[in-house]
Symmetry: D2
Amino acid sequence: MQENIGFIGLGNMGEPIAANLIAAGHSLKVYNRTASKAEPLKAKGATIVATAAEVATPGGIVFTMLADDRALDQVCTAEASFVETLGHGGVHVSLSTIAPATAKHLAEHHRKHGVDYVGSPVFGRPEAAAAKRLWICDSGPAAARERVRPLLAAIGQRTYEFGDDPAAAHVVKLCGNFMIAAALEALAETFALAEKNGVDPAAVSQMMGETLFACPIYQIYSKLIVDGQFEDAKFRLALGLKDMSLVAQTAAASNMPMPLVSLVRDRLLASTAKGRADWDWTALALDVAENSGLRKAAAR
Amino acid sequence: MQENIGFIGLGNMGEPIAANLIAAGHSLKVYNRTASKAEPLKAKGATIVATAAEVATPGGIVFTMLADDRALDQVCTAEASFVETLGHGGVHVSLSTIAPATAKHLAEHHRKHGVDYVGSPVFGRPEAAAAKRLWICDSGPAAARERVRPLLAAIGQRTYEFGDDPAAAHVVKLCGNFMIAAALEALAETFALAEKNGVDPAAVSQMMGETLFACPIYQIYSKLIVDGQFEDAKFRLALGLKDMSLVAQTAAASNMPMPLVSLVRDRLLASTAKGRADWDWTALALDVAENSGLRKAAAR
Amino acid sequence: MQENIGFIGLGNMGEPIAANLIAAGHSLKVYNRTASKAEPLKAKGATIVATAAEVATPGGIVFTMLADDRALDQVCTAEASFVETLGHGGVHVSLSTIAPATAKHLAEHHRKHGVDYVGSPVFGRPEAAAAKRLWICDSGPAAARERVRPLLAAIGQRTYEFGDDPAAAHVVKLCGNFMIAAALEALAETFALAEKNGVDPAAVSQMMGETLFACPIYQIYSKLIVDGQFEDAKFRLALGLKDMSLVAQTAAASNMPMPLVSLVRDRLLASTAKGRADWDWTALALDVAENSGLRKAAAR
Amino acid sequence: MQENIGFIGLGNMGEPIAANLIAAGHSLKVYNRTASKAEPLKAKGATIVATAAEVATPGGIVFTMLADDRALDQVCTAEASFVETLGHGGVHVSLSTIAPATAKHLAEHHRKHGVDYVGSPVFGRPEAAAAKRLWICDSGPAAARERVRPLLAAIGQRTYEFGDDPAAAHVVKLCGNFMIAAALEALAETFALAEKNGVDPAAVSQMMGETLFACPIYQIYSKLIVDGQFEDAKFRLALGLKDMSLVAQTAAASNMPMPLVSLVRDRLLASTAKGRADWDWTALALDVAENSGLRKAAAR
């Protein structure tokens, strides 16, 4: 079924996702704060609108892919927002990595306008988004999830469902990002131990990536850490810190300690203190190396 | 080429490994402190000898698979040990998980007797050992490694070589075990966060095991933690603690901090304090759950 | 000089502080959300008013002692707040433990109304407040600090000045509370180590309190931990957690890691998970004891 | 009563302690591996002997103040050691900071020779030793403790008794050193937080040292950290690391986690990795500052 879809947020991830929705035959109205980023989509058939509110069609669907909780909250709760335009029967598909508490709060807000909130955060880098190879977790009202299922199928390789609670999928997304960050810390310490003992980290990386840890996260990130091109940011350290802060905040709101989150977050804070917020988040390995005496702290 | 092989240490791992060497056509003399454990191998053609020293043939090869550094050190440096019997041209293939410092020390000791020390620790559980599916890392004098290569091929699915330093392979083994322990902590915290937020840990486990973390360690251990049969020890928590203590000791000897090792080791110490040394090491997840208020500390 | 003083927030700390201002000869208008708490002050000569805004006299002084950042922010930025009434020449003496960022934000807000914000958080328990034995740190515009100096002298034993930045005194207060929490953790681990090794914690406490650590914090808190009357809350664990969260938040806003804050905060979160939010914050020692196998986790 | 006293180990601490025993009227035979260090004591009346064993008189008393567990163990368990010479009725007063497990093991060894082991570790720097202002904790057989009481009174300002277990006093000494190290970490993080927020650490140090933390440890160490003369080693960082490793080892042997010990030990390991083993142990504050972006890692 053809859907009238609105799309807000056309960054590295949003743009290829929107393109795939167009390619799947849907009609898209798109909005981005920096308008020039919307141009490539215009060529593919999207309609560019002047305000976030205008992307919505009554009873339609709006996707959002925004930088953080605050940006999403503002666009949703502004006066005359897209939520009001969507109105009864509308669905908001929320792709961003945000706090479950924000999702819960927005879902309540939307309900007053007759709009269903579906949390649908995604795993994958921009290349994966372009190739429709994202992994998606989603949760929210069952009927709304059923309606958006074909749309999610058009942008990812598989969707995992986590029930009716709109916040659930966001919890899962934070779990996944935490697991990645934990793996980064483990790899960084491992490689430092190897290097201090005269063993080539690349050789350790190869063995582990072919055997016990033969999975994308370990293979990709091992290589990035061993190669050490940390200034080339594929995923900015500042974003990793933001995500780990969301995890820490969610754990605190749940009244539970997560000491490994604390450790990783402190590592990212040290990296930020040393001036690496805009580097790739694998640069946390540099901090490990410096604390091991393997490298002098450089200019930044 | 047929080799005269001695084998010391016929526990859960040693016994199936020795059986595979026999199956590959080699002549084996075997020794175990508790003699009854050697019986099954006798039926397969092994010769049972009365002392550790008697397993060796001059210029032959001896495998050891013992509980810890102390046990290995004692059997190697006792008076009239197997090392003296091996003598010039002999090779000691050391399969145990031990400190690199112990390997270095033993290699020096062996050299005085003309014996080459090859560090060959293995990854895999008893079932993998029986199925010749172990992953092996080895290091030591090149000629000795070449000589034992077909033997290692007879007991594992692949051998990774780490050069001439006899301690190197033991460093790699510690790296691997640390990476596993770090993954356990990450999984335990993840599942607790999910549960505290109303998300089913089994569903999170399934998604991660099929996507970002589609590799044996995550798949196997996620299931063990979610199932929660912690009293059924596949790998005793006390052994995990021993291994993490070896990592901590190696890091300290290398003058470097490994905060994630500290965290995991403290977790295993708390689990030991609570009476779980003989449970499976995934029982560290119980400690995480208790500190999250998800479970009361039980009788043990 | 007699001052017209308003006082908002008459809890355990606010009430005795207000009483001391009356005793020093000042005229007080007081407000508390729960009005009954203001009664004892009425008997001492205070005027009870019906709204927070009414405590203020144009160009006068208002003290606040409220539960947290949010409560203070609301009372300051509400429409027709006491700040507007104070107007040009007024001074707000802010006694609460709050984030430096909140102080900075409020100071800017006040400036628009011609009001000076003086951060004046205090150290000491209710008994110390009653006895005029509080330690006070303050910062803010110099003239305002000079004006309130005699008032602070009427409620504490000494005031330490930290310059013109209104946030500075709040930083110092967080530093002090963190130092106390760190000492609690150190004491709890110390006593557990002693007990596990057959040494009486009370004897260790006595020696340290008479020698290296002969100061109030160590003497008082050692005794509380050794006595183990954790359910009798002198300072609620939930408040300790709130304060450590303010420290963590301030560190993160400053782009720096504070691993000891992380450790203590995680300890307080575990204690909360176990149902001890309303106990005394020294109850963190129970968590240490449980993780050491010294005590089973009790009903709560 | 005059005692025939032997004294082994005349370093920074041992030399002034031995001098005070002479000053109290006792006859001393002294030994130091580097003989020249014994010369000043000769002038004061001590007899210099050529081997450690010769310091002992049958039934007499021998004090030891050696660098570490290994040095003490060697001097005690060597063939024809001073313990054998002491024989029945002799007492060994052991001043060094060592593992309780070592004390226990030595006490058993001594008992076979009829010698009592009294653990008597001391708190205080060389100046305090010279001024007879050490704080002493001791434990061991009651009669032996009674006999050495006047001797300890001659070298310190007060002795705290911890019962019959020879290891107990050593546990207390480790507790004290850990509490100091924990305070160092707390101070270092506190001062970094202050500095990052524009507050002068010296002012924070002054207030805390005059109020909540008005005790020697906080006053002395705050000043050292604020002054930042870390290369001038009053207590070498390597020794602090050794002590924290003893604490960690004792905690592990007691089956309990001490996460704050882990944190401090990792901090000292990072400082060692950065080349500061020979600096004062307050140099751990430099590592805190570097991880906060306050200082670039310098040449060492």
